[in-house]
Symmetry: C2
Subunit: 342 residues, 2 copies
DNA sequence: CTGAAAGCGCTTACAG
DNA sequence: CTGAAAGCGCTTACAG
């Protein structure tokens, strides 16, 4: 038993070793090997030992394709994420990964098809029934063209979903959260409050926008279209741009509600470049509470989303469905975190 | 042809449709269906049309497992990433995704096994020969226990690798980059320069540490162990902690070289909390040039790594190997970007 | 408890 | 150009 041999799952011929090799080595049938490695049926202690020894000696691992083909499941879950660069998504994916892993599943990550790169089409993994289920953080607007002939795979939406569609999802109440944020600004005496929105193909962007308007209306503050800037995405740079436009207004806002922390940070950057102090000259409230929010200066006043828990909840919901449970949705709690920026 | 039917890849019985259903519908053998969907052999125009019509009508997609089982490849690549939260990794993964997708591959993302959670073991996907290859950003130290009986899958390391091992990798020259950073500080007149290091199970952390020492030595500045703080990771919080310790020194540094931007940002936060001005009281140089580096205030002076290109290069290297090419490594260029923090 | 055999859904020589 | 059949590596009734 050379060191080399025990270090490799491959026999000298270079071919991966299969169940029949194990069976041969142990002097049993492949059915028996299957039974011991899966503990699916009783096997005599003696036989089991022989098989286990052979498995160990050969370094055998069941072939994932053959197994999935016969079992009809892959234990692979697709996670659709629109933008790796926004920490909101990475934190959420962490939550997904944490629960999914505990149940023996792996994650296939795919950037969501995106208006910017429409040629991508929907991820092939989806069509080819590679995955047992999907968790999507993507805009269904972007997914729409692809959804037509989507195979019937269990699906749960996370944070972003389709309203009144019965689509199972884990999310906060985006509208209420936005309302809370803007109400806070109103309570602090602001009346000229701008909205720094994001791509409204996202429901969360539309709902936060609606929450902004609802807060203003409730306070009897007339809406002013000039105070609404919708960015194409959530990059810092887009936040800077939009903030610049706000500053150029005849009568600029005294506060801005940004629908994402990254946008808020970009805006603050632009304000400071223009010589404005935050929050003294202009207050900024963000959304998400990414890790950076408390490190950035000024530290962000923001709506905290339970990012990790959102991902974990979506994963649990999907796992439930996979186990035969009924589709279910979960609304998690948000919270306003007051720090320095407003 | 009901709307419902055309929207689903499933026939009314709920079972996914297979190649034999298509063959039946088109009145040909499954071999012929296979030939037209793969364009693997000439098929008469007439037959092809019938098959294509059947495929379209049924919404047929080849089963990924059966295909992988017979073809012996999955077109799935594993990407091992240590920490989703560090933007360096997300940017790099973007680069990987961009080239990989163009070649018809999908990515399976796995958090690398990690000292913090040793129970995870190595990703199962690896063992079960699910993936055709792997791109690792993880520490091989952490992977070590798992690497023993790793199947013989093509492997390329990205940024983090094993020195003098012949392991194919895409990386910058970490040592030289660190030397450049520290030399810059020396040129600006600093002599008490601290190192804010990271988990030294990473080669990049060790090499940047070595570059720091080399620069000091070359300038005839004696090393001072008190000025070296090694953080367990790269979270903002760890940077703050380490910086706090530096401040508590009898004679604190006038400059610090942090081996990651996130650490640098955490350090700056701590310095400012303690009432220090950056760079006036203490200069800080970071490493990576994450998107935030130019937005943070003060904007970070840092070593720019071509993150996207690093990922793309690693992907290309892996694709080359998969296509039968020889293992190859690539060293990409770094650059010192001078902004405000030093 | 154990084995021979069918079957999962493909691809690919082998004949014709 | 086309089809019947073998084979990829498993799991799981069906017998014994």
């Amino acid at each position: 038993m050379s060191e080399k041999r025990s270090l490799s799952a491959l026999p000298s011929n270079g071919k991966a070793i299969s169940i029949s090799a194990v069976a041969e080595q142990a002097g049993v049938s492949i059915a028996t090997v299957s039974r011991v490695i899966n503990a699916s049926k009783p096997v005599s202690a003696d036989t089991r030992e022989r098989v286990e020894a052979a498995v160990a000696a050969l370094g055998y691992r069941a072939n994932a394709f053959a197994r999935s083909l016969t079992r009809g499941e892959s234990r692979l879950l697709l996670v659709l994420v629109p933008d790796f660069a926004n920490p909101f998504y990475s934190e959420t994916v962490k939550g997904v990964a944490s629960v999914v892993r505990r149940h023996g599943y792996n994650i296939v990550l795919a950037g969501a098809p995106d208006a910017q790169a429409p040629d991508q089409g929907a991820p092939d993994a989806l069509y080819s029934r590679l995955v047992d289920g999907v968790i999507s953080l993507a805009s269904f607007h972007d997914l729409q063209p692809a959804m037509g002939d989507m195979p019937d795979v269990p699906w749960v939406a996370c944070s972003e979903f389709v309203e009144d569609s019965g689509m199972p999802h884990a999310s906060i109440d985006h509208g209420q959260a936005a309302l809370d944020a803007v109400q806070y600004l109103i309570n602090r005496g602001h009346r000229r409050i701008a909205l720094l929105g994001a791509d409204e193909s996202y429901l969360w962007a539309r709902q936060r926008h609606a929450g902004y308007e609802a807060a203003l209306k409730r306070a009897g503050i007339p809406l002013d279209a000039h105070l609404v800037r919708i960015a194409r995405g959530t990059d810092y740079g887009l936040g800077m741009e939009a903030a610049g436009a706000l500053l150029a207004l005849e009568s600029p806002p005294s506060a801005v509600f940004a629908v994402s922390d990254t946008l808020a940070i970009g805006a603050i950057k632009a304000f400071r470049r223009a010589g404005r102090r935050v929050p003294n000259d202009i207050a900024v409230v963000g959304f998400d509470n990414i890790p950076l929010a408390q490190v950035f200066e000024p530290a962000l006043t923001t709506i905290a989303q339970p990012m990790f828990e959102l991902g974990a909840a979506a994963a649990s919901l999907l796992l439930e469905r996979l186990a035969g449970g009924h589709p279910r949705s979960l609304t998690l709690q948000h919270a306003l975190v007051v720090r320095e920026s407003a």
